[in-house]
């Protein structure tokens, strides 16, 4: 909601933005506080809205103590961060965008805390990753911000994906995605064979989010974000989502050896590693980032212990850490803001000039170091106490010792932060006289610092009930005896703690030497490795993809053919394709001769493939044989169509051939030709065999029997093929003429602009190498076509009218019409014929489709389905019986479209070169204008051209 508001108020002032955001946080917090009482007394508030019932994904929220703790944390720190951000961000920064991202994040985070459906939790989980991506990359001009954002998204998002798998599996194992149900079915889950997978996947998700070793490296780079973001996301809240998740699922996942080993080890390692690295960083935020990693490790380790007390410690530490770390980040931000640097080596003695800031810093750092009387001390004590009781794989000392070392290291870096920054020689970075910032910047960390202090002094009052209840919620049982206090007596933890602090001070004293030696160590930069790995793999993939997807039609086709062959081959190999038992028909000598002609012509087409003109001649032969074959095999309609189409196709090809370059060299190498030959051979044999197998099978009585029987009685025609086309399957024909019409339109669209631009220039420059006869319109030919035109039209009419009963029909008639007109073009040239033509092709196509559709619609008027035909035998005086069928009207539509499309194709192609030649002067003008305008002039002139013609 806040996001929407902020978007709406983008233009408003900063104060308004901040106000909206703060109000949201505060409002949420208020709601939470109202609920807090009942929740802590054991009544869990729930909300449930159905969302995707089939998936088991509901918008179900609950507010148990753990959720309360977390949501409270998120909202309260969020509120402070918003206030802080108001002071932090410069006047020119787009606060609205920033705050809307922040609110998006806050909402998602609260969502994680409150979800009581694991799938819903996943939704929020990934949303936090996204929001974090946007926030880290907020200063988009900085390279490290962009890279940091991408890396964070990659790691946490990727972990989120693992989490998805884990959660869905978890749901599957538990039989529900409802969290309460899952939590109650721990035994079921842990007994499941999927348990290890679930555990690992969920842990990967949690660890990536919480920056656990070895997924930690994104976190320091996320510090490229504005400091409020770092404070909020990368210390107080988002990174704790992983910890929260572990706590949330603790009842169902914890308690096994797997859990203990993995979680404890990873936590421990991270704690140590982070602390160690933090000590030797010089960037304030880097120090804090690594310390965060370390502290997160601590919490994870505690959760891994698997005991209630450890959980309590973890939860208390969450609180503490949130308080002091957010305070520290804000502090670092203040220092940065005021001095212009975050390099600890360039800073020092700030206590004198920025007393308030310094006080704050020292206080928070002390909490981090685990010094009494701050909250950090208590939680650290609890941690050490717990680790003292933990034996790792039989090694009783391992965990406590390492934990102590880690505590020592963290004390050391905390002290270094506090001391090096505020005391000693004055070094003020880029600014000569920095000073304490205004209240807006100072107040939020101050509040946090106070809380950190208060948590130490009055732990039971402030946090006791909450921690206890939350712990109970985590462990699913009654809270263990919880006693939060600074003084626990002289227990091992105290000694460990003391030792740690002592060594830490010692270490700090020795720091320069140690730092020098560490600096000499090779330090693998995770970011570089990450970037390089990514870049390398992208390059490799790109090369691979380039190879696979090379623009090569030959390859596309080869793959297609091979795939089809392989698939067909598989079927034939597994099940066999045998010839059937139908008696074959003996072949007459004529058939054999025709067959031979076809085979020879096909071979000839291949043999002369680059002498294209000859190839075309042989294609003609094939077409002729096809027509003969159709005649012989009882298909007169097909023969007619074949003859007519053949002529038009040849004309078309010759027109195109004229504009193509002369005898080209061979393109492909021998090996390629052999390969293609093999594919072709397999394809040929395969298809031939399939045809053979089908033809030798006895035919079944199929739907065509019906067509035969109903052709005359129901369709009103004796030519069953034609009746099928215009009646039984008229819908096919409608589609078919649409195809032709579209082809015509597309051809027009292709050729209309061809006279311009590059193509036009090429056309104008085109000169054939051949010498041509000067005679353009041979007299005899011209005269013959004059006579043929009316004759051909008459024949076309005849074929059209009788098509319903005898071979023929609209399509063939249309081709005859077209050929008749094309003959005029051939004989007398384009211009001569074009002025005598009465109708434009566009109109023909449009009218044809409309007539055909209208015929079909006509039947709707009479309440019959689309395309229902009707016919009648009309008796006219004198003329005799006369048949009228609506199907003929449909056929008329067919004919119009065909004539239109054919004429469009050939006529356009025929005069494209001439048009290009005429275009020449116009092009000169056009060249001066810019591209946009040229576009429109092209359109304009083309339009004009057409209008002049029509």
């Amino acid at each position: 909601m806040a996001v929407v508001l902020l978007m709406a108020a983008r233009r408003a002032s900063r104060q308004v933005h901040v106000g909206i955001a703060a109000a949201c946080s505060a409002g949420g917090l208020a709601v939470l506080l109202v609920q807090a009482g009942p929740v802590l007394s054991g009544r869990t508030a729930t909300v449930r809205l159905p969302w995707i019932p089939t998936l088991g994904l509901d918008v179900s929220l609950w507010l148990d103590p753990l959720a309360l703790l977390f949501a409270g944390l998120i909202l309260s720190i969020g509120l402070l961060v918003v206030v802080y951000a108001h002071g932090y961000l410069g006047k020119t920064e787009p606060t609205a965008r920033f705050l809307s991202f922040l609110m998006l994040f806050q909402g998602a985070m609260v969502g994680i805390a409150l979800s009581s459906n694991v799938l819903l939790m996943l939704v929020f989980w990934e949303l936090t990753s996204l929001a974090s991506f946007l926030l880290i990359g907020f200063w988009r001009d900085q390279a490290d911000a962009r890279q940091g954002a991408r890396m964070a998204l990659t790691i946490t998002g990727g972990g989120g994906l693992a989490l998805i798998a884990g959660m869905v599996l978890l749901g599957k194992a538990a039989g529900s995605y409802d969290l309460a149900t899952i939590l109650a079915r721990a035994d079921l889950v842990q007994a499941s064979a999927l348990y290890p997978a679930i555990l690992i996947l969920i842990l990967v998700g949690a660890f990536t989010k919480s920056a656990q070793f070895p997924f930690h490296f994104w976190l320091p780079h996320a510090m490229a974000a504005p400091t409020p973001v770092s404070a909020y996301l990368h210390s107080a809240t988002m990174v704790k989502a992983g910890v929260f998740l572990l706590a949330r699922l603790w009842p169902v996942l914890a308690g096994t050896d797997w859990w203990f080993f993995v979680v404890t080890s990873v936590g421990l390692t991270t704690m140590l590693f982070g602390a160690g690295v933090a000590l030797f960083r010089h960037d304030l935020k880097a120090i804090l980032a690594y310390s965060t990693i370390s502290q997160l490790g601590l919490m994870v380790m505690l959760l891994g212990f698997g005991t209630g007390a450890a959980v309590a410690a973890a939860i208390f530490h969450i609180l503490n850490h949130a308080a002091f770390k957010a305070a520290l980040f804000m502090h670092a931000g203040i220092v940065d803001h005021e001095t212009g640097t975050r390099d600890i080596k360039r800073l020092g003695g700030l206590a004198a000039i920025m007393p308030l800031t310094a006080t704050l810093g020292v206080l928070a750092a002390a909490a981090m170091a685990g010094l009494p009387p701050l909250g950090g001390f208590i939680s650290k004590e609890m941690m050490l106490e717990q680790s003292a009781h933990t034996s790792w794989h039989g090694q009783a000392l391992l965990v406590p010792v390492l934990a102590t070392i880690a505590a020592m290291l963290s004390a050391a870096y905390s002290l270094r932060y506090a001391v090096a920054l505020h005391f000693g020689a004055r070094r003020t970075g880029a600014v000569a006289a920095p000073h304490d910032p205004g209240a807006l910047l100072l107040a939020p960390p101050a509040i946090l610092g106070v809380i950190a202090l208060a948590l130490g002094i009055l732990p039971m009052t402030l946090a006791g009930p909450l921690v206890a209840a939350a712990t109970a919620a985590v462990t699913g049982g009654a809270a263990p005896h919880l006693h939060l206090a600074l003084w626990h007596g002289l227990n091992p933890a105290l000694f460990m703690s003391l030792g740690a602090v002592a060594i830490a001070i010692l270490l700090l004293w020795l720091y320069p030497a140690a730092a020098a030696s560490v600096a000499r160590l090779p330090s693998p930069d995770a970011k570089q490795m990450f970037d390089r790995a990514l870049a390398t793999s992208v390059d490799a993939l790109r090369r691979l993809s380039g190879v696979i997807h090379r623009a090569s039609l030959q390859r596309y086709l080869a793959v297609l053919f091979v795939t089809a062959l392989a698939l067909a081959g598989e079927a034939a190999w597994r099940f066999g394709v045998a010839a059937g038992a139908r008696a074959t028909t003996p072949a007459s000598p004529v058939a054999v001769v025709a067959w031979a002609a076809l085979i020879v012509a096909t071979a000839a087409v291949l043999a002369v493939d680059r002498r294209r003109y000859l190839a075309l001649v042989f294609i003609s032969v094939i077409g002729l044989v096809m027509a003969l074959a159709f005649i012989h095999l009882s298909a007169p309609d097909l023969a007619l169509t074949q003859i007519a189409v053949e002529v038009v196709t040849i004309l078309l090809m010759l027109l195109a051939l004229h504009l193509l370059p002369g005898n080209p060299p061979r393109l492909s190498a021998v090996s390629r030709r052999v390969r293609d030959g093999a594919i072709a051979l397999c394809g040929g044999l395969g298809s031939g065999w399939l045809a053979w197998a089908v033809m030798t099978r006895p035919e079944r009585a199929g739907i065509s029997r019906f067509h035969w029987n109903n052709s005359y009685s129901g369709g009103g025609g004796t030519n069953v093929v034609n009746v099928t086309l215009v009646d039984f399957r008229a819908f096919d024909t409608l589609g078919e003429i649409t195809v032709l019409g579209i082809a015509g339109l597309t051809i027009f669209a292709l050729l209309e602009p061809a006279a311009h631009g590059v193509a036009g220039r090429r056309l104008r420059e085109w000169r054939s190498k051949d010498r041509f006869s000067p005679e353009r319109h041979p007299m005899m030919f011209v005269m013959a076509t004059r006579l043929l035109l009316p004759l051909a039209l008459l024949v076309g009419m005849y074929i059209f009218l009788r098509g319903h009963n005898q071979p023929g029909g609209g399509f063939i008639a249309a081709l005859v019409f077209s050929i008749a007109i094309l003959l005029q073009y051939l004989a007398s040239g384009f211009d001569w014929t074009d002025v005598r033509r009465r109708i434009s092709e566009h109109q023909l196509i449009g009218m044809g489709v409309l007539i055909a559709v209208a015929t079909g619609l006509g039947s709707l008027v009479f309440g019959a389905p689309f395309l229902t035909s009707s016919f009648d035998h009309v008796h006219l005086p004198l003329i005799g019986e006369f048949e009228l069928a609506t199907a003929m009207l449909f056929d008329l539509g067919v004919a119009l479209v065909v004539v239109g499309a054919v004429m469009m194709a050939l006529a356009q192609l025929a005069h494209v070169a001439q048009r290009a030649a005429k275009q020449d002067p116009a092009e000169q003008d056009g060249a001066k204008q810019d591209s946009t305008k040229q576009d429109s002039t092209k359109q304009g002139s083309a339009k004009q051209g057409r209008e002049e013609r029509s």
Partner: protein
């Protein structure tokens, strides 16, 4: 009348062709054919701008008969040539036929006739339209052959295209 029936000859021809195609003479076919015979010439009129007047009477029929007869005879002659004349004895010649016909229609008809009778193929017209290039498969006497063409065909055509 002229407007309604711009080319009576063509119309008649179309009607005949229509009846032939329909392969039967019925009233319905006749009417339909007549309609087409009237409509199509009008529709195609622009494609044949200045058609010469032709006489379809006796001269035309006589010409037709002569041509058909010549075709049959020539067929046998040429068949003989193809079957039994050796290639090197073939007296293939170019004939240049001067023509007095003036309309392209008439010239075309002459050339077509020449081509249709086996043994001679009209190959080209001169650029000024006054000579016809004819290829003869076996010509004993060029002058006589040219004269035969002119007298047998051209004079008759001149009468048709008066």
């Amino acid at each position: 009348m002229k407007n309604l029936l711009p080319h009576p000859g063509l119309s008649a021809m179309l009607l005949i062709v229509w009846l032939l195609m329909a392969n039967s003479i019925t009233v319905g076919g006749l009417v339909l054919g007549a309609v087409f015979a009237l409509v199509l010439p009008k529709f195609t009129q622009p494609f044949w701008p200045d058609r010469p007047r032709m006489r379809f009477g006796r001269p035309f029929l006589g010409y037709l008969a002569i041509v058909l007869f010549d075709i049959v005879v020539a067929n046998f002659q040429v068949a003989w040539l193809i079957l039994f004349r050796r290639n090197r004895d073939l007296r293939a010649r170019w004939l240049v036929v001067p023509i007095d016909l003036t309309t392209p229609e008439a010239i075309t008809m002459l050339a077509g006739t020449i081509s249709l009778t086996p043994g001679t193929v009209s190959s080209d017209v001169s650029a000024d339209g006054r000579f016809l290039l004819v290829h003869g498969l076996d010509v004993a006497d060029e002058v006589a052959e040219v004269a035969r063409i002119k007298s047998r065909y051209e004079t008759r055509l001149q009468r048709i295209f008066a």
